[in-house]
Symmetry: D2
Subunit: 308 residues, 4 copies
């Protein structure tokens, strides 16, 4: 009876203190870092999220951040990614979603700004050789465009190129308007079936691919029902005569009116073009810093320009 969300943090809010669910928050310089750890199968069922770690950064809208704040955010994302990546071996970055739909294009946009090095490792000049981790990048497109399951294409690439891990980037769906463009989730549980803006039919996980899959995502869309539900919750709270579980009541009312009568609408902010552009830069820099810890931002930028 709940709206789907791809954010563990939104699910965990309702279960704080429950057994098997551990939640810790830290205030960093200008943003919040919350880790939800789902520690038991029972907790996973409750949260409808697989066992594992979910680290979420909450920030002001990325486009309102100054240049230094963006770099700090990229640096924090890199820290988390490094702690989840295996120490050695090539990494395959997978950009999920449909690049022709802006709100679903985050994954493929990040792919375009990741420093790809797998093919360079042996041909680079000595000062760089040995300092690069092998990185490849794949934006497989969606079923409707390719006729092939994304999961099949990723499995094919894994079998042919044998990376040690995958980082999968995707646009997410959230349950609160305020998360759009402001929450960045990193998890070691991979991509689940039914998740993401495009609702992936099959998952990308350690168990389906045989290597660790780290997923990075940001909400870019919200259901119109959610907007109504958020409003109704606030409304009920402001009525002294109304008692009980406002959230559940608002939920039921919102579903009733929007799904049956208005029609469900998936909406995205008017500024989606700019938002996705900026988010993809911040995420790509986070990935690059995580994947190439021996390179400076300057060296990464220079190599990116040469690779174009």
């Amino acid at each position: 009876m709940q709206y789907r969300t791809d954010l563990a943090i939104e699910q965990a809010q309702n279960w704080s203190g429950a057994s098997g669910i551990r939640m810790r928050s830290a205030r960093l310089n200008g943003f919040t870092r919350t880790e939800v750890e789902v520690q038991s199968e029972e907790a996973a069922r409750r949260l409808q999220k697989p066992m594992g770690r979910y680290i979420t950064f909450e920030t002001a809208p990325v486009h309102s951040l100054a240049q230094e704040a963006r770099q700090a955010l990229s640096g924090e994302i890199a820290c988390v990614l490094r702690s989840l990546l295996p120490p050695f071996g090539d990494v395959l970055v997978v950009g999920l979603g449909n690049r022709h739909i802006t709100s679903d294009a985050l994954g493929s946009r990040v792919c375009e700004s990741v420093l790809v090095t797998r093919h360079l490792k042996d041909t680079l000049p000595p000062p760089l050789q040995g300092r690069l981790r092998g990185v490849s990048a794949l934006a497989p497109g969606v079923l409707g465009i390719t006729g092939m399951e994304t999961a099949d294409m990723v499995r094919g690439a894994v079998e042919q190129t044998r990376p040690a891990a995958i980082i999968a980037v995707d646009a997410l769906s959230a349950r609160e308007c305020g998360r759009i463009g402001t929450a960045i989730q990193v998890t070691d549980t991979g991509i689940q079936p039914g998740s993401g803006v495009g609702n992936h039919r099959m998952g990308l996980t350690l168990s389906t691919l045989g290597i660790p899959v780290i997923a990075v995502g940001v909400p870019t869309v919200v259901y119109s029902t959610v907007i109504v539900r958020d409003a109704l919750t606030l409304l009920l709270r402001s009525m002294p005569e109304e008692q009980g579980d406002h959230a559940a009541a608002a939920d039921a009312l919102a579903r009733k009116v929007t799904q049956q009568q208005l029609g469900e609408l998936v909406v995205t902010p008017r500024e989606i073009d700019q938002m996705v552009g900026e988010l993809s830069q911040v995420l790509a820099m986070g990935l690059n810093l995580a994947l190439q810890p021996r390179l400076s931002i300057q060296e990464i930028t220079t190599l990116m320009n040469e690779a174009m």
Copy 2:
């Protein structure tokens, strides 16, 4: 105390039968054509729309229409445009809005598919010469990109090239979710200050430019408040104990919760990229058929390809 809408039809709904407001609807083959005529200054004040004619086509979402239905719609738009255009003289097509924001890019996209002929009239082979109306096209961009008022740039172009009329195309804002991508408004009143997705600071009208300005627009965005308001209205209607003006009550509640507590959000459907692409094709063909009544669709398409 009402939400802004660029559609006269939405304003007129509340004033049907009022003096000075004439409203006629016709069911065409698969869509509805409604004309609102604002006949007096008093009616204009009530509707907050200047005196003049507003013709609105309501259709299923354009991307769900079959090819023939789209062509029929273009043909009907062409009929209305022809009835509003002066019989002779060049026409300047102005595409308003910001082409970097998909929901505001309708105007500039239409410009790219309009058959531009002003410079060709004398150089074409004899069978075509004399059959072409002179058409020019300008997508001036928005103040934030150019540093110049759109209205100033249009005035400059008018003074230099002396067209007999302007057709201005713009993305609109609506007051009901269901209008997004489904209502096409054509009016002889031009572009008003404060209208459009980008909220034009100055108007483009007969009185400011000295030539007739026909405006064509389609809603592409809606305020989140509107989604909440629509839901609340339905909710109140479904409660037998609630009496009175549901619309006004819902309005007040919606404003209270969204603007004060949620923050106002301008949203657009997730499929906005596809929607704007298809709308611009339908509108451009409507303009081309209206502007070149002596050419067939085939000839227009061929000339468009050559001009690219």
Copy 3:
């Protein structure tokens, strides 16, 4: 001692009548269709082209063709493709090259306009079901962008999805300026290592992938040496006192001056953006007609629009 060309027709010109090389031309309505058949291993060595069939259409520049001529060309390409495709089974369309370099983007552009049906076969309404051939599409990108060999990515997709054949589309390099945008080659020999604008490092052939690979390509670039060589050949021919093999002499001179002193330059016509856009439409329609012989152009266009 010859320039590389991806066109068998350019190689075969010098060996007409040689054993194992069969060459037939037909004048069709507005364009020429030439088939080169390389029938022996010895002939293959001479031509530096593997044994097989190479059908080339020569036309006026595609953008100068009227709409009907383009459709006729698509129809002829479809005929040839159908004669080379296996009668049953899914087909994977592979768009080779780098979509960020316009002259190398032909393959990925064609992919975007191919009707993809593999995932639709079971969900379509009855009138369409059973009439569709399963088609999937992959534009794998180039090594510098993905870090993975194109051939590896295609092999992965083949192993996961088991198509009966591949159609690979690529931008080619020619040895005569006049071939750019005017020669369309279809061959049953697949993609060879070292071919194409981007110089593929590994081939895509029946022997490497285990299924037939039909390659479709159009020249989009030419070496500056070639321009010089063409000019020198004409120059030598016009000098009565010069005797002997003008072609070889021009070749040697052209190489000497351009490679050693001017630097080799790969050039493309100024109108490359428009040229690639139009070629990709003609080729994609050719593929669609070949792959869906039971659909009309109208049905294909409608399904394409829905799939977007």
Copy 4:
């Protein structure tokens, strides 16, 4: 009897030491700066370039430059521009050319990266207010797209907004292959009729617009004849028995074979997409530094991001 070039430096090479033509070169850090001053009407006739100053930077291909070298180049361009701009008053940046043809898109691309401030001057926070020069930007498009002369549209904008000067950016045509993407010309003589990749029909000059017009351009295309001519010149030089004016002889031969027999082709390097992308960044930063001398690169970048 000479090929058209938009570079005064190429014309002046043949007239060094002639009266009324002054030419000075300086080796800067990694690139050359050459100033050609055309001081008399007679010299202007000889060079087919109007009286005025032409400053040309010659560099390695911009995409091969390291980040610091690019910034240094932007800084030098800024210095020259500042010396040519009037000390006070708004500046209108005009991006000439066709943004749909990559080799002609340099002007409109630069426009997109220029910091536009004319509309901000009064609304900025105090620390920035008073430090900004008013800048507007216009990319009017070409005649074939708009149906209006570029010069008319610029005149309209000038009359409406009254800038003190114009900086016009355009893609140029060169007479030597080696200049493509490597020579940046800045001149105080404006845009001449017949110049540029798109061959402007009318000029933009002090005499036609009433305000100073500074033109900035980089060659992006070359005629195929030029490639042949360059090769023939080298060839003749290498023949000891040939005497006399190799350049003129090569010229005559090149014209004869390419124009009469091969057909004239305007070509551009295969890497044109990347080349124009990088050139536009370097030029835009040069303009921004020249126009906003009181802002740091950091402040310019931040304001650009906010403006998007």
